[in-house]
């Protein structure tokens, strides 16, 4: 599926960088890349937040968004966007970026292609444990040992024996979307939703059938029904919890209004280029360090969060006790004081500059995530900020009026210019850079700046909320519950299933209970079996 532009395709002069040469093949001498390199340096200089008024907290900590939402938002990002072109290839001739995620917000990032219905030779143990209907989990190690006291609280990892892969360490992950192992915390989030699915399978099977007596079709149907229940609950969490925390209150009210009238009325499921850019705001929410649990009296630095993956440190896996997340430290559960996310602003945690994780992607030799984000934006045919604001103003002037940054172009340019000019001796940004970038900032930079400038970094501003919120609420509306269930009933396995063989637990029991990530944590604590160990689950 191709990406599309928000509302309509911008005219050439309405596009970001319309007055500039775009990325070119001569990477080392490309003036745009050099400018983006200078701008990327600006994004590692801490934003000047006012000092915190709450004892024990820092000015950069966001009181509105606990740190777990950073990784839930990343999980949602993986469930909506899967770019077909790597960042290092962007801007090269002949590359057309497509979105390989065909059905957003249906948990394809967790389920992949789903139950294949072709399992043969199931053993009795497989049947007894409902393995065909479940997703795999991995054990963590405690004190460098793995035994029965170690709970299944990692994603499944394996030694790549008898393959062409490097056989040292647990380099293989058996998950649908390997981006869900690009940090220790996103893999823990994936583990959480895997546990969710498996506990729903167990619950749906209770009192229905003895697994050894049923057909393969039963397992397929059980898988599908559990997936439906999880997708419905997940979508509710996205709408009622994540979006409520992230979006500007006016934008959230707009998108949750009973007579919702989208700014972009076009039908179809294509996500926008602007969404794919704005979504990167989550990088700014990542803390420089985390308290993962109380087992070790220490914090984990971001660089270790980023490196503790099957590709980064296969010798250190499965995850050990220092990485088993105690979820009350990431979401507000029973009065807990979780890690707070970093305030949203045009500033990333310094560890994102690491060349161990974000090595150079072109001949400029610039390392780090900020540069990648900026190159990605420059290669994408997104709207320029000013014409985009005008286009939205034509349709919903009230949303624009709520923001001085959006409604007053001179004020906007001066504010961005002032921020860019700080520390320009260190960044190397020239007067010409500052002039051009304040007139035509990268969309992501504007979204981050808007959040910092108008919302104190506690949530997205109006434009960021529209660009992120509209595609999400469209996807939520388009993928209705009934539609999912109807589609599943057409699968071969379900058609073959006799009514008497179907699980009889209604989907609604899960969705009635779970409306937030905190609810999900408590649900799993109660229903997911032996998740506790020396490391509490909550």
């Amino acid at each position: 599926m191709t990406f599309c532009s928000f509302i309509r395709e911008p005219e050439p002069h309405e596009r970001y960088l319309s007055g500039w040469r775009r990325l070119d093949g001569e990477q080392a001498s490309c003036p745009l890349r050099a400018r983006l390199a200078r701008l990327s340096r600006r994004m590692y200089i801490p934003y000047r937040w006012p000092p915190s008024q709450s004892p024990g907290t820092e000015g950069w900590e966001n009181p509105n968004i606990p740190a777990g939402y950073t990784y839930f938002a990343q999980f949602v990002a993986h469930d909506t966007v899967r770019s077909s072109v790597s960042t290092s290839e962007l801007g090269c001739p002949g590359q057309k970026n497509r979105n390989a995620r065909l059905a957003p917000l249906e948990l394809h990032t967790l389920y992949g292609n789903g139950f294949d219905g072709c399992l043969t030779g199931m053993t009795e143990t497989d049947r007894e444990q409902l393995r065909p209907s479940k997703l795999s989990l991995g054990q963590i190690s405690i004190g460098e040992k793995i035994d029965e006291s170690c709970p299944f609280r990692d994603i499944p990892r394996a030694l790549p024996r008898y393959t062409t892969a490097n056989p040292d360490g647990l380099r293989s992950v058996s998950i649908a979307d390997d981006r869900n192992d690009n940090s220790a915390l996103i893999s823990q989030m994936t583990m959480l939703f895997t546990l969710f699915h498996n506990s729903v399978v167990d619950h749906m099977n209770e009192g229905n059938h003895l697994p050894e007596s049923v057909s393969q079709a039963y397992f397929a149907h059980l898988f599908d029904r559990a997936r439906d229940a999880c997708v419905i609950a997940y979508r509710r969490i996205v709408r009622d919890d994540l979006m409520k925390r992230l979006l500007h209150p006016d934008a959230y009210a707009f998108y949750t209004h009973s007579r919702l009238d989208f700014l972009d009325p076009r039908e179809g499921g294509a996500l926008t280029f602007e969404y794919a850019q704005a979504l990167r705001f989550g990088h700014a929410m990542v803390r420089p360090h985390y308290r993962v649990n109380d087992v070790l009296q220490r914090r984990e630095e971001l660089i270790d969060v980023l490196l503790t993956t099957s590709r980064g440190r296969p010798w250190r896996l499965p995850l050990d006790e220092s990485w088993a997340v105690q979820w009350s430290k990431f979401f507000p559960i029973a009065g807990s004081q979780p890690n707070r996310s970093k305030r949203i602003g045009p500033s990333l945690s310094p560890d994102f500059l690491s060349d161990l994780v974000f090595d150079r992607i072109d001949e400029t030799g610039i390392v780090g995530l900020a540069y990648r984000d900026l190159v990605n934006g420059a290669a994408s045919p997104v709207w320029s900020v000013t014409p985009l604001i005008e286009e939205i103003r034509k349709r919903k002037p009230r949303l624009i009026q709520a923001s001085r940054l959006l409604s007053d172009a001179d004020y906007r340019q001066a504010a961005i210019g002032s921020w860019l000019a700080e520390d320009n001796a260190a960044t190397g940004l020239t007067a010409e850079d500052i002039q051009d970038l304040s007139q035509d900032p990268p969309l992501l930079v504007f979204v981050l700046f808007e959040a910092a400038h108008e919302m104190h970094g506690e949530r997205l501003g109006v434009l960021g909320s529209i660009l992120v919120g509209e595609p999400i609420f469209k996807a939520l509306q388009q993928g209705a519950v009934g539609k999912i269930a109807d589609a599943r009933s057409m699968t071969d396995t379900a058609v073959c299933l006799r009514e008497a063989d179907r699980p009889h637990v209604p989907v609604g029991y899960v969705t009635d209970e779970i409306a937030s990530m905190s609810d999900l944590g408590e649900f799993l604590q109660e229903r997911a079996g032996s998740v506790n160990s020396v490391i509490p689950f909550l």
């Binding site: 340096r41 590692y44 200089i45 460098e144 040292d168 420089p288 308290r291 087992v295 070790l296 009296q297 220490r298 914090r299 630095e301 660089i303 270790d304 490196l307 440190r313 010798w315 250190r316 310094p350 560890d351 500059l353 690491s354 060349d355 161990l356 610039i366 390392v367 780090g368 520390d423 001796a425 260190a426 960044t427 190397g428």
Partner: protein
């Protein structure tokens, strides 16, 4: 919540920068702000706690042995932290990535002493 330490993101780049200072190829920063600025420009990435307000550069010569002593109060804090249950010695990430194995530090205080014995007298070459 642990000691706020000075942190370096890209040690190799910092090392290259230090070599340039040592050779006189780059001006030695006159202030903490200038130090930060040079490192931002070089893409090093450095985390400096707010408590730090000054910077001093010391260069060895052929006749002088420079012994760099840790701050007394920070040393006490670090020893208390390492003695606590679960205390662990933080090593820069590049060691683990270079050796492709996890450092197993079973006696953190002893290891800390050895580390101090190393870098307080090492001559940066």
């Amino acid at each position: 919540m642990g000691i706020e330490r000075v942190g370096v993101v890209n040690h190799r780049m910092l090392g290259e920068h230090v070599k340039a200072w040592a050779r006189g190829a780059l001006p030695i920063p006159a202030s903490l702000q200038e130090f930060r600025g040079q490192l931002v420009l070089a893409g090093v990435g450095v985390k400096i706690p707010d408590r730090i307000s000054r910077i001093i550069f010391v260069q060895d010569d052929e006749e002088t042995l420079v012994v760099r002593l840790p701050c007394r109060s920070r040393l006490k804090e670090a020893e208390a932290e390492l003695s606590a249950q679960g205390g662990s010695y933080p090593l820069p990430s590049f060691y683990e990535q270079t050796f492709a194995c996890r450092a197993r530090i079973t006696q953190p205080i002893a290891f800390q002493s050895a580390r101090i014995g190393d870098y307080s007298i090492a001559q940066c070459v």
